[in-house]
């Protein structure tokens, strides 16, 4: 990884009773597409606004290319923001919106024109350059907001819920589009989102936040495969979670049994949950023997089953009343609702989930 463009050290911020940032430290690398992911109120927007210079920190500092940003004003920072509402200037044409930041820099007029034209080309808005924001669709406005920020060639582009205002289909298109654009312009993107799918699709790395703290920073794949705790596990995708007890070298699941598992320092006897993704859960006929490598196997009954095109989702319930979601490829067998089966959990797919600090 190349050097850190943004380094956040021990950031703390509170608004009255609410603690928005509770000691956040983070490094974001040059050229990275970085996502701050978490539920609303987790502090991700506060962190983004602190980087942009819109909110000061109570404690800690933010370094840009190694230099403390201190209390510098937003207009002094080589960092630009794409606002959630896009915040286009309603009284200016698209072209003037995009040129606004360059005019503030007092660049020569022909350089401004050239750069504006170039960026309008990149986002595909050449034909709409003389429209006003009120005459644009949501997706077009989003592109103007993006163009207006990237034309400044910021060291870091901050995106506050960039796709939240778009409808579902456009949102999925724009996820890919943003990713492509980021490659094309070669800027560092920091995006705030509450949508885990969006973060997983776009980001190189994701920081999962909750209650003003960072729970885990990892690539999408690692987050999915090795969530650091119970919250991350349930926030990223679907995870079946079983409550167990930590043993000296693993976890015990009453009354099914005990396996060796890296337990991340949970003290023996302490509660410890284990998780498994639905696509790792294996469903077998009632009398079939579990395959090798199975950690736990127990009888259950099929409650509902849904055929969703490329996948089959099955919900089963074991004798203790615990529900399990299992997902199989479309080629798999669709089980009859109410039929008996055996749930097998492969050892390799089990993840120990400490309660987490938050």
């Amino acid at each position: 990884m190349s050097h850190a463009v943004i380094a956040i050290e021990g950031a703390r911020k509170r608004f009255g009773e609410t603690i928005a940032l509770d000691g956040v430290s983070l490094e974001i690398a040059e050229g990275e597409f970085f996502a701050l992911l978490g539920p609303s109120g987790c502090g991700k927007t506060t962190l983004l606004r602190a980087i942009g210079g819109f909110a000061g920190l109570d404690q800690g500092r933010i370094l840009l290319d190694g230099a403390d940003l201190g209390r510098s004003r937003p207009y002094e920072r080589p960092v630009n923001m794409m606002f959630q509402s896009y915040a286009l200037f309603p009284h200016m044409r698209v072209r003037d919106n995009v040129a606004y930041g360059l005019r503030a820099e007092r660049l020569p007029r022909d350089e401004i024109d050239a750069r504006v034209d170039e960026v309008l080309g990149v986002v595909g808005l050449h034909d709409l350059a003389d429209r006003r924001p009120g005459q644009l669709s949501g997706g077009q406005r989003q592109r103007v907001a993006l163009a207006r920020a990237i034309v400044k060639r910021p060291r870091v582009l901050l995106l506050d819920e960039p796709l939240a205002a778009l409808d579902r289909q456009l949102r999925q298109e724009m996820q890919i589009e943003l990713k492509r654009l980021q490659h094309e312009v070669g800027l560092t993107f920091v995006v705030v989102t509450h949508d885990q799918e969006e973060a997983m699709t776009m980001a190189d790395r994701i920081a999962v936040m909750r209650s003003g703290r960072i729970l885990q920073v990892a690539t999408p794949r690692d987050l999915y495969r090795h969530p650091a705790d119970r919250f991350v596990a349930s926030f990223i995708g679907t995870m079946n979670i079983l409550d167990g007890v930590a043993t000296a070298d693993g976890v015990r699941l009453d009354p099914v049994g005990e396996v060796r598992l890296e337990a991340f320092g949970a003290a023996p006897g302490a509660p410890l949950a284990v998780g498994i993704r639905p696509d790792d859960v294996i469903l077998l006929d009632a009398d079939a023997p579990p395959p090798p490598g199975t950690a736990f196997a127990f009888p259950a009954q099929v409650e509902t089953t849904v055929f969703a095109g490329s996948q089959i989702h099955t919900l089963v319930r074991d004798t203790q009343g615990r529900a399990f979601a299992a997902t199989a490829g479309a080629g798999g067998e669709q089980r009859r609702e109410g039929s008996a089966c055996v749930v097998a959990l492969p050892l390799a797919a089990l993840v120990a989930l400490p309660e987490g600090s938050a």
Binding site: F15, S40, G41, C42, K44, L47, A55, S85, V192
Partner: protein, 266 residues
Amino acid sequence: MGEPRRPLLAAYMGALFAFLYLPIAILVVLSFNDSKLATVWRGFSLRWYEELFRDTEVLLSIRTTLVIAIAATLLSILFGTLLAFGIERHTRSPALENGIYLPLLIPDVVTGIGLLSFFATISLPLGTTTVIIAHSVWGTAFAAAIVRTRLRGFDRSVEEASLDLGVREVPTFLRITLPAISPGIIAAALVVFTLSIDEFIIAYFTAGQTVTFPIQVYSMIRFGVTPEINAVATVMLLFSMALIVGAYLIARPRGPRAARPGEGPA
């Protein structure tokens, strides 16, 4: 995000409120001053209030003003509400929509002179009646504007539901529409009433020999500054403020405001 902390602006706001309220506050304080001189405090006294309540001219003018205000308010509400309905429901004429604000844009002196000339020409004797008519001219505009705002926020499908459930137009209007917009009507009534009580210039031209309360105050100010005016001011102040707070409590918007972007942490 918290609101921007702007100590300078906050200090300015404090100074502005001092500017707005100190002069009034001084009147209130002086109304309890035993001395005739504004600059000398001779102790707490209610003597100006006693004088005020023995002053039959003042009391009579208050009575006249109340009669005028009540009548003008009733007329204004009647005309204004009908006008609001007509504009909201039965026309799409921008000229008319903007036209209802026209009476509010005409300076009081012009309205007053116009009516004075008119009443003189048709030989209608000046007095309480003419002031009532004069006040209802702009009162109607105020009432229409306020009721119309309320009418706009009213979901018509509620009326349609009533019709659908088998209630005819008139009972639907009385049982559904009127209660829904009544806060707007009451607020409009309070506003017109308060403005009528305070109105000076138009009444000055159209009252003839009749003395309304503002005209009485005006002549008291012109012909000798006595602390009795301070007592009058204090009583008026309390009365107006009570009316306005009442209007605000009735007409205040209900329901949560839409959250504005940028508020609250993430």
